[in-house]
């Protein structure tokens, strides 16, 4: 879902700035760990002075190439030709367009759902931010990764996967804060409001199912759930 990448640090502003990990990579529990580098070597105790054998002395013969890889002895790539190597390299790969409407419509619908349940001021605030999102997207100000992840977020929201949607919002705030900070908090709030609305509805449903079951024993009168 969230991209797994490392990008270089800001060498202009920070002396030897370290690389930056994406949210996805940062939150990974850590897969197969390499052996931690924590061992040390004891200094020799015999007292013999160590002659530093550092750099090759000047005037040494010019160095040869590195040792050959053992793979060189195998016949090169026969039979196991990956299909991608067959394509001519200048053939452009077309990515599926992510439509603004596909992202914005579900969000606006979610907002409408919340209107009865949430304070007017909050709804207006969210609506204002969705308008900002619309403006920035239509104005071409949002990058492809942001659009892709928003599409995923909206999918999760529509399937009531609140935690997943929330996680995507967080990954966007961490990895692309400059692009999304103005409106993303509205999306975050929308997810929260939908979540609480939905749990209220579930609680009401349970209650009314319970009363419907109770009332089944009363002959003739059936309550609609």
């Amino acid at each position: 879902m969230a991209g797994l990448y490392v990008k270089p640090g800001n060498k202009e502003r920070g002396w030897n700035d370290p690389p930056q990990f994406s949210y996805g990579l940062q939150t990974q529990a850590g897969g197969p760990k390499r052996t931690p580098l924590t061992k040390r070597v004891a200094a020799s105790q015999d007292g013999s002075p160590r002659v530093p054998t550092s750099e090759t002395s000047p005037g040494a013969p010019p160095m040869g190439p590195p040792p050959l890889s053992s793979k060189a002895s195998r016949p090169p790539f026969v039979g196991s030709c990956p299909p991608s190597s067959m394509e001519p390299t200048n053939f452009p790969v077309v990515e599926s367009e992510i439509l603004l409407e596909d992202v914005l419509r579900p969000l606006e619908r979610a907002l409408e759902d919340c209107r009865g349940h949430t304070k007017k001021q909050v709804c207006d605030d969210i609506s204002r931010r969705l308008a900002l999102l619309h403006e920035q997207w239509a104005g071409g100000k949002l990058s492809m990764p942001v659009k892709k992840r928003m599409a995923l977020l909206v999918q999760e929201l529509s399937s009531h996967q609140w935690d997943a949607a929330d996680d995507i919002h967080r990954s966007l705030m961490v990895d692309h804060v400059t692009e999304v900070s103005q409106w993303m908090v509205g999306v975050k709030r929308l997810i929260a409001e939908k979540r609480s609305l939905s749990s209220e509805e579930e609680a009401n449903e349970e209650k009314s199912v319970a009363t419907a079951e109770q009332n089944q024993t009363v002959p003739g009168i059936q309550h609609d759930p």
């Binding site: 800001n10 502003r13 700035d17 370290p18 930056q20 004891a42 160590r50 054998t53 040792p67 705030m173």
Partner: protein, 767 residues
């Protein structure tokens, strides 16, 4: 000794404890002759994914002066439902809930593998986490923009019911009233005049609670909603407005004339922050996060004047007593730090600037409260952004790693006393039978407070053996220590982590070999180093080095095998073989050699040294150096110029920097592009291996280190060369030894020469 190394490692994994000695000398006299004190490194909240907390409260010994917690060392009578405290031997009745226990149905805390247990306290209200942002607005435009974005991002990382507040400052200090309504209000204070806590609370319209808050009972926020709501609001209510408020923050509007520094009122801003939290949420876990882009230049706590031509103090200035603001500023921040610590609040400092920002004067704020100190060049760097993000990192259960308001209590069996602790804590001044009169570190107490901590926070705890010489070895032959850490978990639950350990006593006269074999040289090195750095804060540098040297010589005299006056015969057993090297590197480290760094840098390095766990502390003392080549898998090599070879790649980790260095031949091959040729794929792998290992380190380390990728002849190669070759950068300021006549090791030497001198002094009968 393979078995002791395993024993040490198992204990560290299970209990988060490492002792300098794992078999204890049974008398005070013998213990002092061991040179290295009996002490341990404790990580109170060590991450234990395999240890689920128990959902009941601990059972305490009923003796009022003891109150030790039931543990696997206690004798139990399952039939009579009685247990005997292993510390004071009191017989206690089990509470009714334990009626069903038996030999085959033991509660967790009696089982030997549960020497460490975590309890969840059920009673009491759970107060939310509190974050108060204190933001310097005298920043450059793009720095301020980057900081604002980081703060906005953090609102997405905080839990929805956490309380958050905002204070901004420059020439004036603004306390922002957070409301959901349209108009934002703020209270403005002059940055020149300090105010008492009461004045701040009055001016902000905070009325004192009618019921005085008992220190043991956390404040119930829902009891005074009107007080808490205006300046500290829950995220779920305020996030949209606060995002906008942050987005609209401007640079400090006061114009800065040519040749001047901006007027920055950090002292008053921090004072108001401490006073605000003191008045609204005393005794609740809270984090004051101070973001600064330069030194305080105005008001109490100012560290330098506003004239650029007068530079901020250097170590030379301090030595010559030429730092006019230092004492007063330090006093101001110490006062604030102590108040914050008394209230259980921690203070973080995030300082991003090209010049110093006054970390030397402000360091007590982080060091006494357990807050973070982050130092960078700009807020618009990965170093700051990633480090800041990692503060909000979560554990395997989805909870924040940060914890608040911890109290650490240490109990000992009667042959031991507690001499003190060194780490991010303050004393709670709790006297008692366990407290020694001799102080090492923060002493005179058996309880300390750590307001902010996480799973890597580590303290050094020092003990004293009080058994008299020739007194018989205590019955059972083992001494015991219990560590009780009461803290606020990030899920807002109150928890208690209890670790109880025991070690064998031994008579040093007849069983020295056993004691020797159980020496943990790594732990000993870190514990001695912490003592040295602690001393260096108040003593002269040369005196500390002198002391360190003397201890090393004495240790070698006691435990070395040699014939007198014959240096060539000197040998150390395996359990001591690395120790002299650690001391050699410690003497040259930035923790004890300050003149190569600014006072702020030294404060920054020392801050991290005083709180990291053993592995990281050792890396700081003696950086790790690994060599990559075609000749085999990556191997550790000596931190020595002889390890720099043309056909090797070196990876050096100093904790604060990761350096990758390509040997001359490797660099030439890379330039020639061999890594792109398929028949030299192994060269490509060789180049990639250290990069992958470096990435592994960068992935987890807090704070983010600098990352230096260099090669033979590169200008950045100096970072490697300065660490391996002492004669290149070592400062010869301290040319003592001859003047005093004391047996001192000379300074300006390589490891080999250092070892030669050490052996000479150790075998000499003149010492």
């Amino acid at each position: 000794m393979a078995t002791y190394l395993e024993f040490i490692q198992q204990n560290e994994e299970r209990d988060g404890v490492r002792f300098s000695w794992n078999v204890w000398p049974s008398s005070r006299l013998e213990a002092t002759r061991m040179v290295v004190p009996l002490a341990c490194i404790l990580t109170p909240l060590k991450e234990r994914p395999d240890l689920p907390p128990v959902q009941y409260e601990p059972v305490l010994c009923s003796r009022p002066t003891c109150k030790a917690i039931l543990n696997p060392l206690c004798q139990v009578d399952y039939r009579a439902k009685l247990w005997a405290c292993n510390f004071c031997f009191q017989r206690n009745q089990f509470p009714p809930a334990y009626a069903g226990i038996s030999e085959v149905n033991q509660p967790a805390e009696l089982m030997p593998q549960f020497s460490t247990v975590e309890y969840v306290i059920q009673r009491g209200a759970q107060s939310p986490l509190i974050f108060l942002y204190v933001v310097d607005t005298c920043l450059e435009e793009d720095d301020l923009q980057a900081l604002k974005e980081s703060l906005q991002m953090s609102l997405s990382l905080l839990p929805p019911d956490a309380l958050v507040g905002l204070i901004t400052f420059g020439r004036m200090v603004q306390v922002h009233e957070l409301s959901c309504e349209g108009i934002s209000k703020s209270y403005v204070f002059r940055g020149t005049k300090d105010l008492t806590a009461k004045q701040i609370q009055d001016m902000l319209g905070l009325t004192k609670p009618a019921v005085p808050v008992h220190p043991a009972r956390p404040a119930q926020p829902q009891e005074h909603p009107s007080i808490s709501s205006r300046f500290l609001q829950p995220i779920h209510k305020i996030d949209m407005n606060l995002t906008d408020l942050l987005g609209e923050l401007q640079r400090d509007p006061w114009p800065v004339p040519q040749g001047k520094r901006p007027l920055r009122s950090t002292g008053v801003a921090l004072s108001i922050a401490v006073g605000l939290l003191e008045g609204t949420f005393p005794n609740t876990g809270a984090r004051i996060m101070l973001f600064i882009g330069g030194p305080p230049t105005q008001g109490p706590g100012m560290v330098v004047g506003d004239e650029l031509k007068v530079p901020i103090r250097s170590w030379h200035d301090i030595e010559k007593d030429n730092a006019r603001f230092m004492k007063k500023a330090t006093k101001h921040y110490e006062m604030l730090a102590n108040r914050a610590a008394a209230n259980g609040h921690c203070v973080d400092i995030y300082a991003c600037a090209l010049d110093q920002t006054g970390l030397l004067e402000m360091k007590c704020c982080t060091n006494l409260t357990g807050g973070h100190m982050v130092m960078g060049d700009s807020f618009n760097t990965s170093l700051f952004k990633q480090t800041f993000q990692r503060i909000f990192s979560k554990d395997f259960n989805g909870n924040f790693r940060m914890a608040f308001g911890a109290t650490l209590e240490v109990k000992t069996s009667r042959e031991l006393k507690v001499a003190g602790a060194i780490g991010p804590c303050v004393s709670l001044n709790v006297k008692g039978p366990c407290v020694s009169e001799n102080e090492l570190g923060v002493g005179g107490t058996s309880q300390w407070k750590i307001c902010g901590l996480d799973p890597t926070s580590t303290l050094g705890i020092y003990f004293e053996v009080v058994n008299q010489h020739n007194a018989p070895i205590p019955q059972g032959g083992r001494g015991a220590i219990q560590f009780v850490t009461h803290y606020q978990h990030s899920s807002t639950q109150q928890r208690i982590r209890v670790t109880t350990i025991a070690r064998n006593w031994a008579d040093a006269q007849s069983q020295l070999k056993h004691i020797e074999a159980a020496f943990d040289q790594e732990a000993a090195a870190v514990l001695m180093a912490r003592l040295g750095v602690f001393r260096a804060e108040s003593e002269e540098g040369p005196d500390v080095l002198r002391w360190l040297d003397r201890q090393l010589i004495r240790l070698c005299q006691k435990f070395g095998q040699y014939t007198k006056e014959d240096p060539a015969s000197f040998r150390l057993s395996d359990s001591f073989s690395l120790y002299p090297q650690f001391m050699f590197h410690l003497r040259r480290s930035p923790f004890l050699q300050v003149f190569n760094n600014s006072p702020d840098e030294s404060s920054y390095y020392r801050h991290h040294f005083a709180r990291q766990d053993l592995t990281q502390s050792l890396i700081m003392i003696q950086p790790i150096l690994y060599s990559y080549s075609f000749h085999g898998p990556p191997e550790p090599v000596l931190l020595d110029s002889s390890s720099i070879l043309a056909d090797r790649i070196l990876l050096m980790d100093t904790f604060f920097q990761i350096v990758i260095y390509l040997g001359e031949t490797i660099a030439q091959w890379q330039k020639a592009g061999y890594q792109d040729m398929p028949e030299y794929e192994n060269f490509k792998h060789l180049l990639q291996a250290p990069l992958d290992d470096a990435q592994e380190i960068l992935h987890a380390r807090f704070p983010m280190p600098r990352y230096i990728n260099t090669e033979h002849g590169g200008s950045q190669a100096r970072f490697l060369l300065s660490k391996v070759n002492p004669s290149q950068t070592h400062n010869n300021l301290y040319a003592w030894g001859q003047e005093t006549g004391a047996p001192i090791l000379t300074d300006d030497v390589s490891l080999q020469v250092f070892m030669d001198h050490l052996k000479k002094l150790a075998v000499s009968s003149a010492c």
